[in-house]
């Protein structure tokens, strides 16, 4: 509570929908959407007065128009919305079908050096200064924020694996529900109208409309399965027919909790002894258990899984798998080759939540292992076996790497794609990194040089820009969102200070800060409660250069590292 005498700037606390997703949505547009496919089947009485369907459409949706060959969303980009085709035809291109040149992928332009210097010279002396509580509407990220380009080649002629979507069809659901990147590029084939529904609206509608939820969830499973299989290197040489055949026999499984962070926060605080950690591992949902006969090949589509082996009285973590990883291939192949059943060498457990695709053993034996399989398939299999052998993983890993793996998995740090790792043996505690961060953010440092340590390495409390950013799940306004490049950002003007993201972040990397005007007066409600906003690292996306913290370190002690793959970290350690 702020002392009344310190508060001059009395304002109303910002609320959800103070800034709609699109200010151009008219009442006529809302009526039109209510009559559109899916929406016309919804029961309006399922929505409470405080959250009417019409309000959701007005505030969380926007109508976007595209012309022939214009890209709506790109493969590999992160989106925060699902899309409903209102009119026209769009093409969903198969993964990696189009070259990066023809996709016209252009990364967002950073501000010039001159404007960065100007911004730095004009920086405020006081912390967390804002012009106003709300500001210019720019909430969330929509396709409008992207650099929309045209395909350089005409995709309408390419019919082979392209899926055509017409009025009433939905796309983008896999990426937004799975908090993962787009697996396909979607292009307009003529003049097209698309309804963009941001995550917050989609979440609220799914919660109240079981029919809509079922449709979305089915699409998520079917398309996720098909397109994931196409992107797996092991199956890259298979024909479209074979992939379709495989998709029809493969199973899509979801393990663990979608909102896993709540349980994780609770148990990680309680865990003190090795026994506690063993109990935590045992409580993780088992996908495949060591000693059991393998029941098909497991492919990780989303989330993370722990590979562990039971030694004496404890579980020893050998590694982890994320998107694209596979489990059980070695055992399945050995069993087929030797003609006798082989049990699994390790267990595979879901860390948080994991989407898994299970490929039946008999299909693999006929189409992949058989002597009659094409030569290209045999080469792909050999390569996959080399990469996925758990026994090889064990023999290739140094003891320090094993402990490091255990530490990273234990603390779920494998989620970070840009974790701030500090080498404490080189860090001289000069705080140049903190000062640099403050310089790049209007005098407000966006991280704490403190955090969990493993030996001489510390993972500082800076946003890790997670592969699975659970902080975004509950945001009511879309203020916290992911840029197409994967940077988790907060749109300050859209943040209403509800603290949901800060509470959801399992790593305590989001801080709630009191904001003030240029004179230093804290903004506060009439009852004296200060207005707060979420604050975190944005990887210096608004400056002219790469993360300031990393550039500032004169001792080569700080690095932003993608911990999804432990080799990134071990390479830096061995530098």
């Amino acid at each position: 509570m702020v002392n009344k005498k310190d508060v001059d700037s009395v304002v109303q606390r910002p609320k959800r929908w103070d800034q709609p997703f699109c200010s151009d949505m008219s009442a006529d547009d809302v009526v039109r959407i209510l009559a559109a496919p899916h929406f016309c089947d919804m029961t309006r009485s399922n929505f409470p007065n405080s959250l009417k369907l019409a309000s959701i459409i007005r505030n969380d949706c926007q109508i976007r128009r595209f012309v022939h060959n214009q890209i709506i969303v790109r493969e590999g980009e992160y989106v925060n919305s699902a899309f409903l085709v209102l009119s026209g035809v769009v093409a969903m291109l198969p993964p990696s079908d189009t070259s990066s040149e023809s996709l016209a992928r252009i990364s967002k332009e950073r501000p010039s050096t001159f404007s960065s210097v100007l911004q730095w010279l004009r920086r405020n002396k006081l912390p967390e200064v804002r012009d106003s509580v709300a500001g210019i509407p720019s909430a969330g990220s929509s396709v409008g924020d992207r650099l929309i380009e045209h395909l350089s080649e005409d995709v309408s002629k390419n019919d082979a694996d392209t899926i055509r979507l017409i009025d009433g069809d939905i796309f983008g659901e896999s990426a937004v529900l799975g908090r993962s990147e787009m697996t396909n590029t979607v292009v307009a084939l003529c003049e097209v109208e698309v309804l963009e529904i941001r995550w917050q609206g989609l979440r609220d509608i799914r919660k109240r409309e079981s029919g809509f939820k079922e449709t979305i969830d089915n699409l998520y499973r079917e398309r996720g399965l098909y397109y994931h299989l196409m992107s797996v290197p092991l199956f890259s040489n298979l024909s479209t027919e074979k992939i379709r055949e495989l998709a029809s026999v493969a199973l899509f499984e979801v393990h663990g909790e979608f909102e896993w962070q709540k349980d994780f926060q609770k148990v990680s605080k309680q865990a003190k002894t090795e026994e506690d950690y063993n109990r935590i591992i045992e409580s993780e949902p088992v996908i495949a258990l060591e000693g059991d006969y393998p029941d098909g090949l497991l492919l990780v589509r989303n989330g993370f899984g722990r590979i562990s082996r039971y030694i004496n009285f404890g579980h020893y973590t050998m590694g982890y798998l994320s998107h694209g990883g596979m489990f059980g291939l070695e055992e399945l192949y050995d069993a087929w080759k030797n003609g006798k059943a082989t049990t699994l060498h390790c267990s595979f457990r879901a860390l948080g939540y994991t989407d898994v695709i299970r490929i039946p053993t008999d299909w693999l034996e006929i189409n992949m292992f058989s002597e009659n399989a094409p030569e290209t398939t045999k080469v792909a299999l050999k390569q996959a076996l080399m990469e996925s052998r758990p026994t090889q993983l064990e023999s290739n890993t140094k003891p320090v790497d094993r402990k490091l793996t255990e530490f990273l998995v234990e603390n779920r740090l494998i989620n970070g794609t840009a974790s701030m790792v500090i080498d404490l043996e080189r860090c001289v505690r000069c705080d140049d990194c903190v000062s640099a961060c403050a310089s790049a953010h209007d005098n407000n440092p966006r991280f704490n040089r403190h955090g969990k340590s493993f030996g001489r390495y510390m993972i500082a409390n800076a946003c890790m820009h997670c592969e699975d950013p659970v902080c975004m799940i509950g945001c009511p306004t879309g203020a916290i969102h992911r840029s197409p490049e994967g940077v988790v950002k907060i749109t300050d003007s859209a943040c209403i200070g509800c603290s949901t993201c800060a509470n959801n972040c399992p790593y305590d990397n989001i801080r709630m800060v009191e904001i003030r005007d240029a004179s230093g007066n804290v903004f506060a409600e009439p009852n004296g409660k200060p207005i707060i906003k979420a604050s975190k690292c944005d990887l210096c996306a608004e400056t002219s250069a790469t993360p300031a913290c990393e550039r500032a370190c004169s001792h080569d002690a700080l690095k932003r590292i993608d911990l999804k793959d432990i080799t990134n970290l071990t390479q830096w350690i061995d530098r």
């Binding site: 050096t113 960065s116 210097v117 911004q119 730095w120 404490l424 043996e425 080189r426 860090c427 001289v428 505690r429 000069c430 140049d432 000062s435 640099a436 310089s439 790049a440 040089r449 403190h450 340590s453 001489r456 510390m458 400056t543 002219s544 250069a545 790469t546 300031a548 990393e550 550039r551 500032a552 370190c553 004169s554 001792h555 080569d556 002690a557 530098r575």
Partner: protein, 272 residues
């Protein structure tokens, strides 16, 4: 290529370049020219690069490359500059007032720089060996809390044990230890001698304590360890933070004095 190899290679490279530069200036001397003009301006050029590192640190919003690379260049150019300097003064201590002043400032800057590298390498490593990492600015808060906790423990021991042996010992020998940071220089030298003496004193008291007091004494022992940790952090981090306060201002003064030196040299060049 490991860390040690890279350092040895770079140092050898700098020494080779330095020797080459010395020979070059020697040749200039032999050609009946004053090599000091050339080596002097070359030194100013090198000094400018060294100063840009400081500017780069302040102007972080401009992407001028990694700080780590800049620091490496700073060290090696500093070393190279020293070789050029030795040739500039013809391997002798100058006798003029201005020249002597510059030399003193230069030596302060150079020696503080070399000491800084040593401090950075050694103290950072020693900090990483400590059981917990503590932020320097929070140490006073931790010290205050620890003092509060210790006082609470002593009051509890008197109330619950019915004896004042431990509290008397605390008031006579330990209150001062917890009052403020201790054994600054001992910690800098990497010794735990001061702390061990204090701890040993408490250990010797154990035989005079009753059972209840002994339990409190064990807790007090843990608090002594915590205090020692805070003192170690404070000593090492204080030096890490403030050694630069000698190096940077002296470097700026050196730049100014060098300017005066250049003006005087050109003003009186006819006299040479």
């Amino acid at each position: 290529m490991n860390f040690g190899y890279r350092r040895a290679r770079n140092t050898a490279g700098v020494l080779a370049a330095g020797i080459a530069a010395v020979f070059t200036f020697e040749i200039i001397d032999l050609s009946i020219q004053v090599q000091q003009y050339y080596s002097g301006w070359f030194m100013i050029f090198l000094m400018a690069i060294l100063v840009v590192f400081y500017v780069k640190k302040r102007l972080i919003v401009v992407g001028m490359g990694s700080g780590g690379n800049w620091a490496q260049w700073h060290y090696y150019i500093g070393l190279f500059l020293f070789i050029i300097y030795l040739k500039h003064v013809e391997f002798s201590f100058p006798d003029g007032l201005v020249e002597s002043t510059i030399t003193v400032f230069y030596l302060i800057v150079m020696i503080s720089g070399v000491c800084g590298v040593f401090i950075n390498r050694v103290f950072a490593r020693r900090l990483s060996y400590l059981e917990e990492d503590i932020i320097y600015e929070r140490i006073p808060v931790h010290l205050k809390k620890l003092r509060h906790d210790v006082e609470g423990l002593i009051i509890d021991s008197v109330e619950n044990s019915g004896s004042t042996t431990l509290s008397d010992y605390y008031l006579q020998h330990l209150a001062g230890y917890f009052e403020k940071p201790q054994f600054f220089f001992t910690h800098l030298l990497g010794s735990n001698y001061g702390f061990l003496r204090v701890k040993d004193g408490l250990d010797r008291q154990m035989r005079y304590l009753n059972k209840k007091e002994a339990e409190y004494a064990l807790n007090l022992n843990n608090m002594l360890q915590k205090k020692n940790l805070l003192d170690t952090h404070l000593a090492l981090q204080r030096v890490l933070k403030y050694w630069g306060t000698l190096h940077f201002p002296m470097a700026l003064i050196l730049v100014l004095v060098t300017f005066v030196h250049v003006v005087l040299v050109y003003a009186f060049r006819g006299a040479a």
